[in-house]
């Protein structure tokens, strides 16, 4: 039996749809709200429901053989895992945003305060791509609020539709990367259970 870690939240229902498409009898996202762990009706796979950022951790340590995580989480966490497939759902962009009209890409300057959940990605962007020193502020949520209340000049955050940004009077200044959900595997399990994992990955590839 393969153990698969899934992200709690917006990726869950799409992920479960994929497993239903490949013939696994799994419940809908609404029916597993409180369960942290379940198996499909035919006991072929065991699923763990964890926080999105914890998916690659479960996979890296081999507590889960496979996982479904957003590319954003993988880029940020830098875990040693194998990325098998782009599942093409969960599209979003990591962007730099400011209050409307406050900055353009070419006026971003040293000393800016940047609020973000994505410290690694933000550091890489400002240091390596723009080569400017900024002050990073780690937040855990409602990042859009930071420029409104003067906590930061700029934010680095994920946007799907851009609606939240718009509602808060913010606009995108630059795009750092595009993220979609990925099927990931533990690096050793991918080898030691290659046949099982590849067979499932092939079925998923056809379904997405």
């Amino acid at each position: 039996m393969l153990t698969i870690a899934l992200s709690k939240g917006y990726l869950l229902s799409e992920a479960l749809k994929v497993f239903r498409k490949v013939g696994l009898r799994v419940p809908a996202a609404d029916d597993i709200s409180r369960k942290l762990e379940f198996t499909d009706a035919d006991k072929k796979c065991r699923f763990l429901i964890v926080r999105p950022a914890d998916v690659p951790v479960y996979v890296e340590y081999g507590a889960a053989d496979l996982g479904i995580a957003g590319k954003d989480v993988l880029v940020e966490g830098r875990h040693k895992i194998t990325e098998l497939l782009d599942l093409k759902f969960g599209y979003c962009r990591l962007v730099v945003a400011t209050l409307k009209g406050a900055y353009r890409k070419d006026t971003l300057r040293a000393g800016l305060r940047v609020a973000t959940k994505f410290l690694n990605s933000a550091t890489e962007y400002f240091q390596e791509k723009l080569d400017i020193d900024v002050e990073l502020i780690k937040l855990y949520g409602s990042v859009e609020l930071a420029p409104l209340d003067g906590l930061s000049d700029v934010i680095v955050d994920l946007v799907a539709t851009g609606k939240t940004l718009q509602e808060n009077g913010l606009e995108v200044v630059d795009e750092i990367y595009i993220s979609t959900a990925r099927l990931i595997a533990n690096r050793v399990k991918a080898k030691s259970r290659y046949k099982e994992i590849l067979a499932l990955a092939q079925r998923i590839k056809k379904a997405v």
Binding site: Y61, T82, L84, V188, Q202, K205
Partner: protein, 248 residues
């Protein structure tokens, strides 16, 4: 974290080490003992980048920079190029000792851990590769492990791939490559170090490799005498953990 080893565990370690060293001696390998620390300048030329950055370094009482060995293979290559320079070989060595690495290169790795490994110097190509692969398999069998696997690939072939493809392979990013991996592509080869055969040993129960090895024909030349070289190292703690997991 590093830890104290207490009686039942120490006995288990000694027993498995005894089995493996007996096997290696019978296969014609002689034990070599190298210093735990030495002058950094004496060793640095042969250390791959990832070991240089994870090694503990310090200054001794005269202000000379020293290194706590992160690896024993590099020391053996140094010996082969200096004190044993005039010996034509082939040379067959095994070692059993602790190595030290500040950063975790793999999950669950202690900063101090025991490696047992072999080096076959002066036998090039498939003949040397086969001897080492067979010996690695014997180590796994002698340890008492079941369902062990050895998977191999070739660093030379990967080196010749187009840069974009090679980098995606190094990151293990098959989403970027747009296709699912072949089994041999799942091995993470250090291309700065290995020149040909590369292999990893594992069991299905464990999420990490027990040992790995391969051919590194460019290492010995750094220390003054070119010799083809192939070898492997096992992590003793991981062998013991795998054995314990299989007994459950």
């Amino acid at each position: 974290m590093n830890k104290d080893l207490l009686p039942p565990e120490v006995t288990a370690r000694r027993e498995i080490l005894q089995k493996i060293t007996n096997l290696l001696e019978r296969a014609g390998y002689a034990e070599i003992v190298t210093p735990t620390f030495e002058e950094y300048d004496r060793l640095s030329a042969g250390l791959p980048e990832h070991l240089k950055t994870t090694a503990y370094r310090f200054f001794d009482h005269r202000g000379t920079q020293m290194i706590l060995r992160p690896d024993i293979t590099t020391q053996i290559a140094r010996v082969a190029g200096t004190r044993l320079r005039e010996q034509n070989g082939p040379l067959r060595f095994y070692y059993s000792g602790d190595v030290y690495r500040a950063a975790q290169l793999e999950i669950g790795q202690n900063q101090q851990f025991h490696q047992i490994g072999v080096e076959l110097l002066g036998v090039s190509g498939a003949r040397g590769d086969q001897e080492i692969l067979k010996l690695a398999e014997n180590v796994l069998r002698t340890s008492g492990l079941k369902n062990y696997r050895i998977e191999q690939t070739n660093a030379g072939q990967i080196q010749r791939l187009p840069a974009k493809q090679r980098k995606a392979l190094q990151r293990q990013d098959f989403a970027a490559l747009g296709r699912l991996p072949r089994l041999s592509e799942l091995l993470s080869v250090d291309l700065d170090y290995y020149t040909g055969l590369y292999f990893e040993c594992f069991v299905p129960e464990m999420g990490y490799i027990l040992g790995s090895g391969g051919r590194y024909d460019n290492l010995c030349a750094v220390f003054g005498r070119q010799r083809p070289a192939v070898g492997f190292a096992f992590n003793l703690d991981k062998l013991l953990l795998a054995l314990a997991a299989q007994k459950e």
